[in-house]
């Protein structure tokens, strides 16, 4: 159970240590102290380990994450979990802009608020924000889902492709080609699964949400290709 003090071990050394982990390693839990807003902490991890960061992280924390469970006991800077592939990233505080940007898979949970462009260009990641998200969230998001328990800023889902958006609070305004869609049982079930995955099973009622999606007027959508999204 190694504890890494980033005032002692260099960030590059620490990240290299994570990248060098052998398959089936016994080191499955890393605690990071003194992150002090450093950038790219635990970026590019591809191992089924847990990394717990005590404090505030800088830009691109847990970027490109694959398989790891990364917990930030603090807030995260721009691009937390950007381009994540799988695994789980949990921000206990707030997240800055572009949280979960271009993510392909896995689950990103933010306990506080996320700033602008949360889930921009998402390609399969599931993002759950317990607070509110800023403007231009889910911009051009292609697949995956964004669940917001609070409110959203302006232009939610602008130029949206096939990502699914669920908002419990107020939507300040919708972006181009983003429309409200009926929340049917199948959506409530899918949403229930997401809430459960984020540890909110039974605490939040899926029927309190509104669903938003693409009006499919801005891109060449063909029903026949639906399975590809």
């Amino acid at each position: 159970m190694p504890t890494i003090d980033l005032e002692v071990t260099s960030l590059r050394e620490f990240n290299q240590m994570l990248h060098d982990l052998a398959e089936g390693t016994n080191d499955t839990y890393f605690r990071v102290v003194n992150p002090r807003g450093r950038h790219a902490i635990a970026a590019g991890v591809d191992a089924p380990i847990t990394v717990e960061i005590d404090g505030n992280a800088g830009y691109y924390c847990a970027g490109m994450n694959k398989r790891a469970n990364i917990i930030i006991n603090g807030s995260a800077g721009v691009g937390v979990a950007e381009n994540m592939m799988s695994g789980r990233v949990h921000v206990k505080g707030d997240a800055s802009a572009s949280a979960g940007a271009t993510g392909c898979g896995g689950l990103l949970v933010i306990d506080g608020n996320a700033a602008s462009r949360c889930g921009i260009s998402a390609r399969g990641v599931d993002i759950l924000v317990k607070g509110s998200v800023g403007h231009m969230s889910a911009f051009m998001a292609q697949a995956g889902s964004l669940v917001v328990l609070g409110d959203t800023g302006d232009a939610l889902g602008d130029s949206l492709y096939e990502a699914r958006l669920f908002v419990r609070g107020k939507v300040n305004s919708l972006g181009s080609d983003c429309v409200e869609k009926p929340l049917r049982d199948e959506h409530k079930q899918a949403l229930g699964k997401l809430l459960k995955g984020a540890g909110l099973d039974g605490q939040v009622d899926p029927s309190e949400f509104r669903r938003y999606g693409s009006a499919r007027q801005l891109y060449h959508f063909h029903m026949d290709n639906l399975g590809a999204y």
Binding site: G37, N56, G58, S75, G77, G93, D94, A97, G134, H135
Partner: protein, 299 residues
């Protein structure tokens, strides 16, 4: 890229430490702007005097002799505090125009970079931590200050027109971003009688605010108007005699993070710039909203 920081002290007991707190913030921002740096500090001052910060092109410039010339022209003693390439002259209230004329008469060797009851402005080419040391920022006291580190992308690395640019008495601006309509705006402002030294967009932003203020806007209103008239992406931090303000453009793609405790309000381009501040672990840390004017003032 560029980095900007701002620090406003709520707790007067910290005022002797303003400079050392700011120099730590500035040093971290070397990574965002290694080419040059500038900072404004709001220190001591009284209403019967005005402080003129004068930057000389060469460190060998004889500030003491300029002080003597100013004393003769004004008819009363003019103290000067020399810090590296900058001299801060304390001029009696009302003698400002005479002092200006004398200084401007020296040609391109010197330039007035700041004017105010409490504001002093310093800027130099070089790594920001080195620049801060040259001016002994760490020893400066004051109630608040703002600073800028520059990574030159669009314009030449000079200190002419470099932030902080003073926009009026005790007012200055630092900026991270780039304006796309600065040429058109510069032409419009020139027609209104403003003059510009550089092709730099920050100078246009500062000129724009100066013009709005001269039209009778409050600083808050001038910032609000800038949302309509400035096109581009930017984060502004504006210093005034009593405090500082923050404004991000509506798209807000330039970074900004703020922290507040009982003792201070701090602004940084990145959270890293704030980690050396006392009690930061318990501070309220948040990201300022786009197109929203924030202000903190001394009461």
């Amino acid at each position: 890229m560029c980095g900007i920081v701002g620090l406003f002290l709520k707790n007067k007991a910290l005022e002797p430490k303003l400079g050392s707190m700011m120099s730590g913030m500035l040093a971290t921002m070397c990574d965002r702007g290694p080419d040059s740096a500038g900072f404004a500090v709001y220190g001591s001052g009284d209403s019967s005097h005005v402080k003129l910060t004068v930057r000389a092109m060469s460190c060998a410039f004889d500030f003491a002799s300029l002080a003597r010339r100013l004393s003769e022209a004004i008819g009363s003693p003019v103290p000067v505090e020399i810090r590296d390439s900058h001299g801060v002259f304390t001029i009696p209230e009302g003698a400002e125009q005479t002092a200006r004329k004398t200084i401007e008469g020296l040609g391109d060797d010197v330039r007035i970079v700041g004017l105010g009851t409490r504001m002093e402005i310093y800027k130099e080419v070089g790594r920001p931590d080195t620049v801060a040391k040259r001016f002994h920022l760490e020893n400066m006291a004051g109630s608040h200050g703002i600073a800028h580190t520059r990574m030159a992308t669009d314009f030449a690395v000079t200190t002419t027109g470099a932030p902080p640019i003073y926009t009026g008495r005790d007012q200055c601006l630092v900026h991270n971003g780039s304006l796309s309509n600065h040429n058109a705006l510069r032409r419009q402002l020139k027609r209104r009688g403003l003059s510009f030294e550089t092709e730099n967009d920050t100078e246009v932003a500062a000129g724009y605010l100066t013009w709005r203020l001269s039209e009778g806007d409050s600083l808050g209103d001038a910032l609000k108007h800038s949302l309509d008239d400035l096109d581009g992406f930017y984060t502004f931090v504006v210093g005034t005699e009593d405090g500082f303000g923050v404004l991000r453009d509506p798209i807000a793609c330039k970074p900004a993070v703020m922290a507040e405790t009982d003792d201070y309000v701090a602004f940084g381009s990145e959270y890293r710039a704030l980690v050396g501040l006392p009690g930061i672990e318990k501070a309220h840390v948040w990201e300022p909203k786009p197109a929203t004017v924030y202000f903190w003032e001394r009461h």
